[in-house]
């Protein structure tokens, strides 16, 4: 059975339509009209799509409760990324945002990314171009040759960080601070050097990389 989505939305029109749409796409959908039973229902779900305003409990409270109960459960918040509501500052629990009125395809794409991200964290292997990544086993296999690719600790962490945010451009600062756990100092070439070595191991042709893409002036990304 395909991964199930917990969808919390108070509006009947949107709720009904979106859950039908997601079901069409092949997901199992559990739609709740209020946040009251969210924590119990979330146990069987792989991802949560949460509306900001709900009767009774607001979306922020529900989100915080869910994250507390299931820290690994990805949450997609239906809200503006820079909303007029400054509660967003305390919105560490959401893994992604989507602003209403969203395009249904956009929602499906975001849900897909979140599911893949949670799959990366689980034992399920992820396929990226000619690589298969077994995150649970810390193993990367080059399918061209069938050989395992051995990475150093930092190279592995950098790759995993980009893979977890697949499709998103991550800035040098974000990568460095997540992997090294300290503030990035401008002009530091450490990350660049690591990426170069990483490419030499991962890419078919390190001179024109396919897996880790450089986004000029910003950072890097692993394309979805």
């Amino acid at each position: 059975m395909s991964a199930s989505i917990l969808y919390i939305e108070d509006d009947r029109d949107i709720g009904g339509w979106v859950s039908d749409f997601l079901k069409e796409k092949g997901y199992g959908v559990k739609w709740l009209q209020s946040g009251e039973k969210a924590v119990e229902e979330a146990a069987q779900c792989a991802v949560v799509v949460l509306d900001v305003m709900l009767p009774g409990l607001d979306g922020f409270t529900v989100g915080q409760r869910l994250k507390k109960a299931y820290p690994g459960l990805p949450i997609l918040m239906l809200s503006a990324r820079t909303s007029i509501d400054d509660k967003l500052q305390g919105l560490e629990f959401a893994d992604d945002y989507l602003t209403k009125p969203f395009h249904p395809d956009e929602l499906a794409a975001r849900v897909e990314v979140l599911l893949r991200r949670s799959a990366v964290q689980s034992a399920e292997p992820v396929r990226v171009k000619h690589l298969t990544v077994y995150e649970g086993e810390n193993r990367i296999v080059n399918e061209d040759t069938g050989e395992e690719i051995l990475l150093t600790g930092k190279q592995y962490q950098i790759f995993m960080y980009l893979l977890q945010h697949q499709g998103r451009v991550m800035t040098k600062e974000q990568i460095y601070e997540s992997v090294w756990g300290e503030s990035y100092i401008e002009g530091d070439k450490t990350l660049m050097v690591h990426i170069r070595y990483l490419r030499e191991k991962l890419e078919r042709d390190p001179a024109s990389p396919e897996i880790i893409e450089t986004v000029r002036g910003l950072g890097y990304r692993v394309k979805a």
Binding site: I14, T82, I84, R168, V169, Q174, R216
Partner: protein
């Protein structure tokens, strides 16, 4: 009751207490001299009437003189033996006194003890000389005729060094005491006045310290504890009232801000919900068999719904911001980092729209005082505008530049440019206004300057932090520029 209240009011006034202090000092001036005498008398009686010293009999010259004359008178008609006897017994009683007896024949008869300077024969001339020398001199000398003055029985002389009788002379010590008393009283007055002012100063300083050390969280000064109910006490009370009013005002403002925010947030949500429904149904329609024109219409509706969503957001933001109910939390941040993160989030959108990003930001950080959340909104609006109105240019440039500001300083400026049709075109005039108004408002609130240069070849938006001299709205910064240029708030 009334009297007590009056007294209370009196004591509650610093003016009155000061006047009392001055009055007491003024009244004391005339009283001080008699008081000094009383003091002297008291001191003299208590401390000077010490138990009789062994030589107290010499204390008073007059007494001594009287005694000597009395003795001489009593010796009238006495025989030389009797005189000698009497003098010897007197000498025993007054051992420090020198005694001399000269008989009627001017001959020195007895000398107790023997003194070198005394001649054996006292001529009239010598006697007069002796008398003259003795007046007011040391030793203290008394000459007395034996018997009556005309008895011609000779005379007797007594001499005593003045140290025995002048030690207790009170004349000098009296002045010292007066002086001492006056000095003490003046000193006391100065001390009391000084203490009076020191205490006032201390209380005022305490109040000033309270005023200048505000609570870190609220920025409102701390209230003080009341000391007394005088003028400074009233000042403290007034100050405390002011503090509580400020706190109340701040609390009310926070409440209003919260209320307004939640109102606008729910309004935004309520407006977006039907849009979402419409959009989802457009999506359903798109999958139905439709003619080319039908599909075109649907995609137009869809695009407009997206625009409407952005418009609602900006409109509500603008309303919220300009209501003055929103406090920006300004922090010193590296804005280039925020720009990069925001651009990274927009990157897929640009790719999809066929816009080629050209990003060249300097390595060293650009620190401005910004509210992170609202600065992101500012960037989002600018990036959104490029997607919405300058897509035809297929380009977005995000870079930094050194810019001269007032006073010749150089500062980093952030530039966002596109190759769209510019503000003159129809596309830009529709809907860009409110988004840019939000940008302009936010820039101003964060102490930044925002300049828009637009022509048919593209739009270039420069954001920088004015130098310490400040750049004022409307001031021309680059008069030599060729492009059409106008301030955002003019639109």
């Amino acid at each position: 009751m009334k009297g007590w209240r009056a007294k209370g009011r009196f004591r509650k006034s610093l003016t009155n207490r000061y006047l009392l202090l001055i009055s007491v000092a003024m009244i004391f001036m005339p009283i001080l001299f008699p008081l000094a005498s009383v003091f002297y008398w008291f001191v003299a009686n208590t401390f000077m009437d010490v138990p009789p010293l062994p030589d107290k009999k010499y204390e008073n010259g007059t007494v001594l003189e009287k005694m000597w004359h009395k003795e001489a008178t009593q010796l009238e008609g006495a025989s030389p033996e009797e005189i000698e006897q009497r003098l010897k017994s007197l000498r025993q009683a007054y051992p420090e006194v020198q005694m001399l007896w000269v008989d009627s024949d001017s001959r020195k008869r007895i000398e107790l003890p023997v003194q070198e300077d005394m001649p054996a024969l006292w001529s009239a001339q010598h006697t007069v000389q002796f008398m003259k020398n003795s007046v007011g001199a040391d030793p203290f000398t008394v000459v007395a005729f034996i018997g009556d003055e005309g008895a011609d029985e000779g005379f007797m002389v007594m001499r005593i060094p003045r140290k025995y009788i002048s030690v207790q002379d009170p004349i000098a010590s009296e002045t010292t005491l007066y002086g001492l008393f006056m000095a003490t009283m003046s000193g006391l007055f100065i001390l009391v006045s000084w203490l009076f002012f020191v205490r006032i100063r201390k209380r005022l300083l305490r109040l000033r310290n309270a005023m200048t050390s505000p609570n870190e969280a609220t920025g409102i000064p701390q209230p003080v504890t009341l000391t007394k109910l005088d003028e400074i006490g009233q000042l403290e009370e007034g100050y405390n009232d002011m503090v509580s009013q400020l706190e109340e005002g701040q609390r009310r403002q926070r409440e209003e801000e919260e209320l307004r925010k939640s109102l606008i947030a729910s309004l935004s949500h309520d407006l977006r919900t039907p849009l979402t429904v419409i959009r989802s149904h457009i999506f359903s329609l798109e999958r139905e068999p439709l003619s080319g024109r039908g599909k075109e219409s649907l995609s137009l509706i869809e695009a407009k719904i997206g625009d409407l969503g952005g418009l609602i957001d900006n409109l509500l933001s603008y309303n919220l911001l300009t209501s003055g109910k929103v406090q920006l939390n300004l922090d010193a941040k590296d804005v280039l980092r925020l720009v990069k993160e925001s651009a990274a989030a927009w990157y897929p959108v640009w790719e999809k729209a066929g816009i080629e990003p050209d990003i060249a930001l300097r390595e060293e950080p650009l620190i401005w005082n910004v509210d992170v959340l609202w600065f992101r909104r500012l960037l989002d609006n600018l990036f959104q505008n490029v997607v919405r109105h300058a897509q035809s240019g297929k380009y977005i440039g995000i870079y930094t530049e050194e810019r001269q500001v007032e006073g010749g300083e150089e500062t980093g400026a952030l530039i966002i440019s596109d190759r769209g049709p510019g503000f003159g075109s129809e596309s830009h005039n529709k809907g860009a206004g409110i988004g840019l108004a939000v940008v302009d408002f936010l820039a101003k609130e964060m102490g930044l300057k925002c300049e828009v240069e637009s022509s048919g070849e593209g739009t270039r938006i420069t954001i920088w932090k004015p130098g310490s001299g400040g750049v004022y709205p409307g001031q021309e910064l680059n008069p030599g520029g060729k492009q059409v240029r106008f301030e955002v708030d003019d639109m």
